[in-house]
């Protein structure tokens, strides 16, 4: 393993062009991450034609640095505008935005950037370690295990919502929305009303843009003024960012648990980063001794999801490289780039092109660190967004978000969907329903349903089959455990 690693290392530094591609990729990645709606997938699609004349390794350097940088960028908007720049940053809003309101945006950004960097490094380290056994990890997850994993994801929602009933209601609405569209297994259209746009179901990005970006701007419009309620622009200090980095280093345990959750969930195709970062958040709030401040501006609530968020990229590469099964839209595009350059992802890639994989890992490592440093350095200026008057902020954010919604699939339907969910999102803010619960239920719905039906076909309708599959059984136990945690806490409190 050491030899291809060294070859990859010397390759990266042998050609100054590689470093140029790294910086270009990181810049594009951070920018696309920051802008809601635009994410890694859009960035890769736009940069793809640029790679035509490149060698496979150069293309990998460019794309790898985009992928390594995007999720760190997305945290910035989550913290400042309560609008996740990319879907997996959604959980960062919980505590990041309250911190901004309290005038502590600089600290939050510093913590988020450093947590992503450490999480990212951790995730890539795990990737490098498990590559030789990557195959068996993917093979653990058949339809029964996928179903149980989705169930675990939904369970973690109920545990972590502040108001459980409202959380459950929002989750159910998410599941309902998830049923819209063509059912591939049953072969029927559901709740589409004959509208072609709904045939594929509602995709996550326009819903997210509506629920967060548009809804937040509506709320700000009603409230008036600027986002930050405390502090003033003249009090922004660079030392805030440094304090954020210190906070991360103080909470290494949370960074570590977030990274592990991120890499594990990331390795399971189809679940995606939203669930990874959310589960990391709820896990952190559960293991923390004093968790009363979670949701009201606890810095640990920023660190946990961001660590998971960057760690998931390392995990996400496992199914993509080892099997050509992409977990996210971003990975699907990256897969296309690999194929275009004659690298056929699949079991042989890991054996035949070990060195190329290490180029990718090293690039992403560099991109993770570089993007975090970019953001820390820029934080001083970025934080000013929180003090901009709403009359300037609202039109800019709304127009950029709607363009972002359109850019995903080049369809105007997505823009209408974003606007529609904007109103829904505002109502949810107004009546205090958790929006992320809806999003996660929406993400998990089709996965859960499809794998349930597949399992039923496999088991001939006998649901006890779920308990004969080892992975599924383990995940089921985890769900039971997660449900018991609040109960145990209540009992412990009563005793003391």
């Amino acid at each position: 393993m050491l030899e291809p690693l060294l070859t990859a290392f010397s390759y990266l530094f042998s050609d100054p062009l590689n470093l140029l591609y790294l910086v270009l990729g990181v810049t594009v990645g951070v920018l696309f991450g920051i802008i809601p709606g635009l994410g890694g997938a859009t960035a890769i699609a736009l940069l793809l034609p640029l790679t035509f004349g490149m060698s496979p390794e150069q293309a990998i350097v460019l794309m790898g640095s985009v992928m390594g940088a995007v999720s760190a960028g997305g945290a910035v908007t989550a913290i400042l505008l309560n609008t996740p720049g990319t879907a997996p940053n959604a959980a960062t809003c919980f505590d990041g935005y309250p911190l901004t309101k309290q005038g502590k945006a600089g600290i939050a950004i510093g913590a988020a950037a450093s947590a992503s960097a450490i999480g990212g490094i951790f995730g890539l380290f795990i990737l490098a370690m498990v590559l030789p056994i990557a195959k068996s990890i993917v093979l653990w997850f058949g339809p029964p295990a996928f179903f149980m994993l989705a169930l675990l994801g939904l369970t973690s929602l109920t545990v972590s919502s502040g108001n459980m009933l409202r959380g459950l209601i929002a989750g159910c609405i998410g599941l309902f929305i998830g049923f819209v569209g063509y059912d591939e297994i049953g072969g029927t259209e559901r709740y589409t009303g004959g509208v072609d746009y709904l045939w594929d179901g509602l995709s996550i990005v326009p819903v997210l843009i509506g629920l967060f970006a548009i809804a937040e701007m509506l709320a700000l419009f009603v409230k008036g003024g600027s986002i930050s309620e405390a502090g003033s622009q003249s009090r922004i200090r660079f030392s805030d960012t440094l304090q954020g980095i210190k906070e991360t280093l103080k909470n290494l345990k949370i960074v570590a648990s977030g990274s592990v959750i991120g890499s594990l969930i990331g390795a399971v195709p189809g679940i995606g980063g939203v669930v990874a970062s959310f589960m990391s958040y709820s896990f952190a709030s559960q293991i923390s001794e004093d968790n009363s401040k979670f949701g009201h501006g606890d810095i640990r609530g920023v660190i946990a999801p961001e660590a998971a968020n960057n760690a998931k990229d390392g995990g996400g590469l496992i199914p993509t490289l080892a099997f050509g099964v992409p977990g996210t839209a971003e990975m699907a595009l990256f897969l296309g780039v690999l194929i275009l350059h004659g690298l056929n992802p699949g079991p042989m890639l890991l054996i035949e092109r070990e060195y190329t994989i290490f180029v990718l890992i090293l690039t992403m490592l560099g991109a993770t660190i570089l993007s975090a440093s970019f953001i820390c350095l820029a934080a001083y200026y970025l934080v000013r967004i929180a003090y901009i008057d709403s009359s300037i902020l609202i039109p800019s954010v709304v127009s950029v978000s709607l363009v972002g919604a359109y850019a995903v699939h080049n369809t105007i339907g997505d823009v209408f969907a974003a606007a529609f969910f904007g109103v829904i999102g505002y109502l949810m803010i107004r009546f205090d329903y958790p929006r992320i619960t809806l999003v996660i239920a929406l993400v998990l719905c089709s996965l859960m349903e499809r794998n349930y039906t597949q399992s039923m076909i496999m088991f001939d309708g006998d649901w006890s089959g779920f308990f004969r599959d080892n992975t599924a059984l383990t995940l089921f136990m985890c769900s039971v455990l997660a449900l018991c945690v609040p109960l145990i806490q209540v009992i412990r409190k009563k005793k003391s």
Binding site: A41, A45, L48, P49, F52, V138, L139, G142, P143, Y182, E184, I185, G186, G187, T188, D196, Y197, W199, D200, P269, G270, F323, G324, V325, P326, A329, A332, L333, F334, L335, G336, V337, I339, L340, H341, G342, N344, P345, G346, P347, M348, L349, I351, H409, N410, T411, R450, T453, Q454, I457, M458
Partner: protein
Amino acid sequence: MRILSYFCLIILLSACSDGANNNGVYPQENISIVIPYGPGGGFDTTVRVFSPHFARKLGNDVTLLPENMPGTGGRRGTAMISRSDPDGYTIGILNLPGLVLPSILGEKVDFQLREMSWIGRIESQNYALLVQADSHIQSLDDFIAEEEITFVSIGYGTTVLAAIQIVAEQLGLMDKDIKFLTGYSGTSDQLVALVRGDGNATITPISTSFQYVKSGNLRPIVVTGDSRSSYYPDTPTFAELGHPVLSQLNVQRSLAGPPGMDPAVLGKLREAFLQVMEDPEFLAAASQAQMDIAPLNGEMAAAEIDKNFQYYEGFKANLSNPNQL
């Protein structure tokens, strides 16, 4: 701020200038090439490899702009191609039999494949019937003798499931304990499911399966097509084993424009297309991207439509959803 204004100015200026060559010959402006599927997939790769070479052969310094229009299983993008002006500035890549199947299965379609202006076929992929490498099934006869068969497949309405259903019917498997485990998200996903043992057989395009066979996870039993595949020279074809009907199963990627295109424009596109198909530079790029180049000229590509309609119409009774609720 000033840099930003300059940047905006440059963008505005570049938007105003159009690179028209006024020699009056088509093409005078850039050509959109619609891909009815998302970026990163097989159709997308084909277009991205093909379009720069095609642009060069068309001349006049035009560029081909790939436009992804995914949705409704390819029907949205195809309808878009069909509805656009037949001026030669919008063409697209189409899936056969993927776009033939919806009308046979009784779904609403907003395009008439037979009336489109066919430019030529780029790719045709044959299928392989695969089992796990350590399976006791060694030959097609073993396979037919097997009592319990579970095919893993992508969802209802796709070419792969249709191929599986036709194979099952022709081999007389329908009376046995046979299951169609559908719903996987793509052919790679399907191959992983077979490696994992969710089922015991599947059918995918040969080139997709190659990696898994090479790595010793899966084993091909039989392939479609008129002759043996260069990937699996030792694997017999269905025709060799007495099932010539099944050798016609394949998936094709052809270029077409909207109905009613000016014959001169269509002629120019067809001519440039055939030149690309013989261009060694294109062929090298295509083989690097693992494409299965199988060129057909415009007329012959158009004739494939009727052939496909006839073929799949004949199996209509077997193509109903195996997991209908």
